[in-house]
């Protein structure tokens, strides 16, 4: 029983990480039709900026309020990076899918190479509060606090994105744009501002995933973003491209499946099962769990 609770909660921790990356990816694709392969770079920038800030930024540190400042700096760096990518590289290429893919794949590779050149290819220990190294006993299972932190962060981000989509003018524009971007323009709305905004939201969530994921794993490495991005894409497709809630459901399904199968089966079998789940969803429900509706 302890093992099931532990696997469930660590699976949800993994799901939280996937969701943080996938939510922005899904909104960007749903609204702007951009398959952003550079999304993992936002995660890497967030992680490294947090790591750098904890050691160098005045007021920031590895513990207490200093850690909050470091994470805020990392999130701000990831958000800025996402906005710059949208404004400088993606904006001239809307409706040019092949060029978008080439640019974002190239940027992703170049970004990883730049991180490696600057801080080396090896994983580095990540500065983190002492309590995140400890465990909390829940119904007899000793659950890592880093995983619980991820779950809490993902729930808060989900609630914040849903509130934003439901209650703000720009949220309304994004929900409408996911359905029919052209018609939003035909109502006199400059939808490009919403594109920049969803990139910013996606960049912030991915950077938060980078910072808190590094807390969970205890290290930061240049390849972190790329490996998580693959599963985030799977989550987006299973959830429905454009749906934040669909991404949340799909992330939970993928995280739990991976964790349980890897534990009860062979290590690595969980990843294969996730791909099998993707294939089944594509065959039976190609539009994904929630279809194309931002908050369905």
């Amino acid at each position: 029983m302890d093992a099931i609770i532990l696997l469930t909660l660590t699976g949800l921790g993994l799901a939280a990480l996937y969701f943080l990356v996938a939510s922005g990816l899904s909104l960007v694709f749903g609204l702007a039709d951009v398959l952003n392969f550079a999304h993992g770079l936002f995660l890497g920038v967030g992680a490294y900026a947090t790591w750098w800030a904890a050691g160098n930024l005045p007021g920031a540190g590895a513990d207490g309020l200093g850690f909050v400042v470091a994470v805020a700096f990392g999130v701000a760096a990831g958000t800025l990076m996402a906005v710059l990518v949208e404004l400088v590289l993606i904006r001239p290429l809307y409706s040019r899918t092949i060029e978008q893919v080439l640019v974002t794949v190239g940027l992703s590779l170049a970004g990883v190479a730049l991180l490696q050149a600057t801080w080396g290819a090896d994983a580095r220990p990540f500065p983190r509060p002492e309590w995140t190294r400890q465990v909390t006993t829940i119904l007899g299972a000793q659950v890592p606090n880093g995983g619980l932190l991820l779950i809490i962060a993902a729930v808060l981000v989900l609630a914040a994105i849903l509130a934003f989509l439901q209650w703000t003018r720009y949220g309304l524009i994004i929900r409408a744009g996911v359905e029919n971007r052209e018609m939003v323009t035909a109502l006199g709305i400059d939808v490009r501002k919403a594109f920049t905004l969803v990139f910013a939201i996606g960049g912030a969530a991915a950077a938060l995933a980078g910072a808190l994921g590094s807390v969970y794993f205890g290290t930061v490495s240049p390849q972190q973003g790329g490996s998580l991005l693959i599963f985030a894409f799977i989550v987006v497709v299973i959830g429905g491209m454009g749906s934040v809630v669909g991404s949340a459901y799909a992330a939970v399904a993928v995280g739990l499946l991976q964790q349980f199968v890897n534990y009860y089966g062979t290590s690595g079998l969980g990843d294969i099962c996730v791909v099998a789940l993707l294939a089944v969803v594509l065959l039976l429900r190609p539009q994904g769990i929630a279809g194309k509706a931002a908050i369905a």
Binding site: Y94, L172, R175, T185, A186, G188, D190
Partner: protein, 253 residues
């Protein structure tokens, strides 16, 4: 004669290698309804979409389109719409996942007071159904919402693309009545296949054939000449009295 509200001059549109419009020229009078007619596939919708800047990215547009003195082709769609060019697309294009109220709120423009009174006076049904998802409305109600969204703001010209397509006869009449009232205050460029509606609403007509203007003039004169309507539109004027074309009978209210 008063200045036209819209002047289309030598408009050509190529999309994916197809030369859809081949030098179309016409004007829209500053009052009343000007109807754009023609058989299927001659470029009526393409014309409206080119005017409002919605030609696909793989399309090429040449020529001149002016609203008053203002050139339109070099401006993005959202600026044209904010400048008073209202557009009601073919197939309504309401946001199915949003409520009626949200669809209307989306059309509000910064700096101007939305005319909800005007919209709800024309379409009281929209007020009653404000919390209902637009996707669950009937075809007629969706059309009312699509027109209502545009009427929320003051416009200099309305482009309305096949508003009665697929609607039941009773709803076709309702939509025609609304457009008749709307046209009293703002000029309308209308694409319409239902000749009974055209007969009721249109003052001027422009007929397209094979991407060119085949005829332009008084709409009632066109409809009164059976041979002319048959040659240009493939339908006799007598059939124009039938307000219930086959297409309309397929879909209910």
């Amino acid at each position: 004669m008063s200045q036209p509200v819209l002047t289309v001059d030598d408009l050509s549109v190529r999309i994916a290698g197809l030369h859809i419009l081949q030098g179309v020229s016409f004007t829209v009078a500053p009052t009343g309804v000007t109807v754009l007619l023609g058989r299927n596939g001659v470029g009526k919708t393409t014309t409206l979409r080119a005017v409002v800047g919605l030609t696909p990215r793989n399309g090429e547009v040449d020529g001149t389109v002016r609203m008053g003195e203002q050139s339109l082709l070099d401006r993005p769609t959202h600026r044209l719409v904010r400048g008073g060019l209202g557009y009601v697309p073919e197939d309504r294009c309401v946001f199915a996942g949003l409520t009626v109220a949200e669809n209307l709120r989306l059309a509000e423009r910064r700096g101007s007071t939305p005319a909800y009174d005007r919209v709800f006076a024309l379409f009281p049904e929209l007020d009653r159904r404000s919390r209902q998802r637009a996707g669950s409305l009937s075809g007629g109600q969706q059309q009312m919402l699509a027109i209502g969204r545009v009427l929320l703001n003051d416009n200099r010209l309305l482009l309305v693309d096949e508003p009665t397509k697929g609607l039941a006869p009773k709803v076709v009449t309702e939509v025609a009545e609304v457009l008749e009232r709307v046209a009293e205050s703002v000029p309308v460029l209308l694409v319409e296949q239902n000749l009974a509606v055209v007969r009721r609403l249109a003052r001027d007509a422009v007929v397209l054939a094979a991407g060119k203007v085949a005829w332009a003039g008084d709409a009632q004169e066109l409809l009164s000449e059976t041979a002319l309507t048959r040659s240009l539109l493939g339908v006799g004027s007598a059939e124009a009295h039938d307000a219930t074309p086959a297409a309309a009978r397929k879909d209910g209210h």
